[in-house]
Assembly symmetry: C2
Homo-oligomer: 491 residues x 2
């Protein structure tokens, strides 16, 4: 077996290889679109289940809106169309026919041209707000708190599995409110849902912040975001929550009568996370041997592997393994007992290591004779021989320990790589040498941001919500600044 | 409030109005595409959850494949392309640009024409089998048991909410096997999953059968189906499971090495149900007042409505209502306590009747003083005054009773409308007058089927799996026949 590329050697190749090797996803025959394989999809389903639960607990309901958006709706919504909406998949025809010159070929039927082109949704504000127009008359119809799980398409030139693909899966919340204050509370609440999910389930520490003007969503008044640090020191935007003001209500003429009967435009938010989180998960915890999954998102939490030389030994070992399996299941722990006779234990050890299974249990006749089994935890690779009696509780405790350890480890990694710098020269030197995040004073202008980006590739990731007010001067222009922003190279 | 159209007056309008009135779905601004509203989507989520559980219990895993299929893949798969694949949404371009003649308009950028057109998937056999080719080398890689939850698009000329829409949601299972026998077992197993789901959860009796040649899926050797009877006597195909033989393996050149190292084409199945089931659910149980939902799929199983004239009465009633709510929740019953002060009880009664909530509880101070509450079950509209003490158990029992009653009622309805006929004249007369299903002898030819369809609009729904062998003669041609088939008009 060829040795795997390490993170040190080539981080980007390590990532691509690992996503493929662990069975998470692969490229498809369709440019820029991926196939999410069963193991990857099982992790995504766990993410979905947790997020969906939290959305519902915070009062949201799911619904489903059309895949296609008529071109004229994008025109109604100028600002957004100026943004990513132009790089999109355009449906122009609705029929294929057999090629009259070659019966084995199909051609687009020129007679079946659409009167108006349809865009495959890059996001659903347009179609949803044109629908909300019919749902909202009075303050009694508000708030509308809806989420949609869907696929979206943005025509990307350079794609990478999970991180940037032309088609991806996501959820998009779209809410409508009677007041500005209520909409802002909603946008902030959903940012909290995202950051809690990232930290508690993905074990991925995040910085909660606001975007500057140039990174803000085109139709938004304020874009809140969570930013995580990957193992190469780059930032990854893991979720966004937008306060949209009255922009979409105005574009689609959505008004409501307040208690006094006065007509007002509705206030809006939208918020989303996508399969990009899968990439973030991989790049936060995994190592050169394979995936490292936090127990709360691992499709298989424990793999039990029998060690045996004879059918008699297998019988003995299987009995103990099956008993342990059922005890673990009773504790709500997902287990795979792998007694495939075609594979050797060493192969299985490597397989579950690649797949990031949090705990591996090996049961062999020698240990068993002494009432012992072998445990290996994936995060630290620590091996221990423990009593079989009550081992299910040891493992349950390990689930918590591993979850916590992954978070603490990632938090320390991140904190060690965030630093304040006050001069542009120092910033450029350090960024080049050390990577990571920089807290800097910035004059707040797009021009300065563009200059920094052009010269260093770093962008202003966010203005942290917990940033203390602090008088300073912009490290580039020397103009006054009131707080520090986070600068980093990003995915 | 305008009176609703009854089923008797106009079944089709009754259906459309009800789907809209109950908040299940509505037409969108995009031709043929629907918006599934939160209440409708909540029912669909319950269907999904049950089906997904059963798919996993039968060894399947979920995955996700691209939305787009390159045109050449359809060409590889001739038979299928001859079928519905031609009426489809075709993506020809990947960019819009600002119209140089009118800055407020967008036009398709002619420079951004795709080299090869992409088809929005009408079904995923092509993209999935082109992927499986890379996954299958040896018998060890088989079986592959994968399901996908996805949206698909088929360009329909005449659409109806849920029943026939250009975009719809579905699941599609795609499996690969080493032997023909194993693939047939799989196709039949999934038909069982569908029929059990339809009968146990939707309370909708179905006939399990095989399709004749003309109704068979283009790429299939055998199409199994479940057919249900709607209240107007028409048939609705509620799910299909296809034994695909080696057709797709041959089209995409997917072979595996068997234990002896010999290369063989893989055997396949595919199976699916869609949001069409929502239409079937509505048309099986609902009445002129509104939806009637089987408790197992009802998003709200119990609605509790307070009756009060003063704040003091509301306090008293609310206390009892909240206690009952928590007792019901403990029993796993979903409850809505509707104390909205802006609506009168009568309005609420009508609302929950429209929405098909299985049990309504009214709590008022007079009944309460005697330790009583009022229950109304949605299926029979029966009202009863019962003891508050222990009413949660009465309600739990009602959930079972209503679920069973709906099934028995629909079963009787169906059985009363299936009849054997032996002459074409009798068939035509009865079909015209009574509707329903007919068990007839047929000579097995496409020509006879086409004649019947042209003259009566009825089609051969299926050859029931439990059809006993019986010598007879085709009612049209007098040619010999070995068993009876089901003939009916269909959705």
């Amino acid at each position: 077996m060829a040795k795997n590329v390490t993170r040190e050697e080539d981080y980007s190749k390590w990532y691509n290889d690992l996503v493929f090797r662990a069975g998470l996803a692969e490229n498809s025959a369709v440019r820029g679109c991926m196939v999410i394989k069963p193991y990857g999809y099982a992790i995504w389903e766990k993410m979905q289940a947790q997020l969906d639960k939290r959305f519902k607990e915070t009062g949201h309901q799911n619904a489903y809106f059309p895949l296609f958006v008529p071109k004229s709706m994008f025109e109604a919504e100028e600002k957004n169309a100026e943004g990513f909406a132009k790089e999109c998949a355009v449906v122009t025809h609705y029929r294929l026919k057999t090629d009259p010159n070659d019966k084995t070929k199909l051609i687009v039927d020129p007679e079946a041209k659409l009167e108006e082109e349809l865009i495959v949704r890059p996001t659903s504000e347009a179609i949803i707000w044109s629908t909300y127009k019919g749902w909202i008359q009075s303050y009694r119809d508000l708030p509308i708190l809806i989420n949609q799980w869907a696929n979206v398409v943005r025509w990307e030139m350079r794609t990478r599995l999970f991180l940037r693909t032309s088609e991806f899966l996501w959820q998009e919340g779209h809410t409508a409110h009677a007041t500005k204050a209520e909409a802002i509370v909603e946008a902030e609440k959903m940012l909290d849902v995202y950051s809690e999910f990232a930290e508690e389930f993905m074990a991925m520490p995040v910085i909660r912040g606001k975007k500057g003007e140039s990174e803000r969503f085109a139709g938004a008044e304020e874009t809140y975001c969570i930013e995580a640090m990957m193992q190469d020191g780059r930032a990854l935007q893991a979720g966004t929550s937008h306060f949209l003001g009255q922009n979409f209500a105005k574009a689609f003429d959505v008004k409501f009568a307040d208690k006094e009967g006065k007509l007002e435009h509705v206030w809006a938010t939208s918020w989303g996370v996508s399969t990009r989180l899968m990439g973030a998960l991989v790049m936060t915890h995994s190592d050169d041997e394979g995936l490292v999954l936090p127990p709360k998102l691992a499709p298989i939490q424990v793999a039990i592997i029998p060690i045996y030389k004879s059918p008699e030994e297998l019988t003995l070992v299987s009995e103990a393994a099956l008993e342990l399996t059922s005890k673990l299941k009773e504790l709500g722990i997902s287990v795979k007992y792998d007694d495939d006779d075609n594979r050797r234990p060493g192969w299985k050890f490597a397989e579950y290591e690649t797949k990031g299974v949090p705990v591996r249990v090996a049961i062999g006749p020698r240990d068993l004779a002494e009432g012992k089994v072998e445990l290996v935890r994936r995060d630290t690779k620590e091996k221990s021989i423990v009593d079989l009696a009550g081992v299910e509780h040891t493992i349950a405790q390990l689930m918590e320990d591993i979850q916590n350890n992954l978070f603490e480890r990632a938090l320390k990694f991140k904190n060690d790589r965030i630093q304040k710098v006050d001069t542009y020269t120092e910033f450029k030197e350090k960024l080049e040498k050390e990577g990571g995040f920089y807290l800097v004073h910035w004059d707040g202008t797009i021009e300065t941001e563009a200059l920094i980006k052009a010269e260093t590739q770093a962008t202003i990731r966010c203005i942290p919500l917990d940033s203390p007010e602090e008088d300073g001067v912009c490290m580039v222009t020397g103009k006054p600044s009131k707080f520090r922003v986070v600068l980093a190279k990003a995915y």
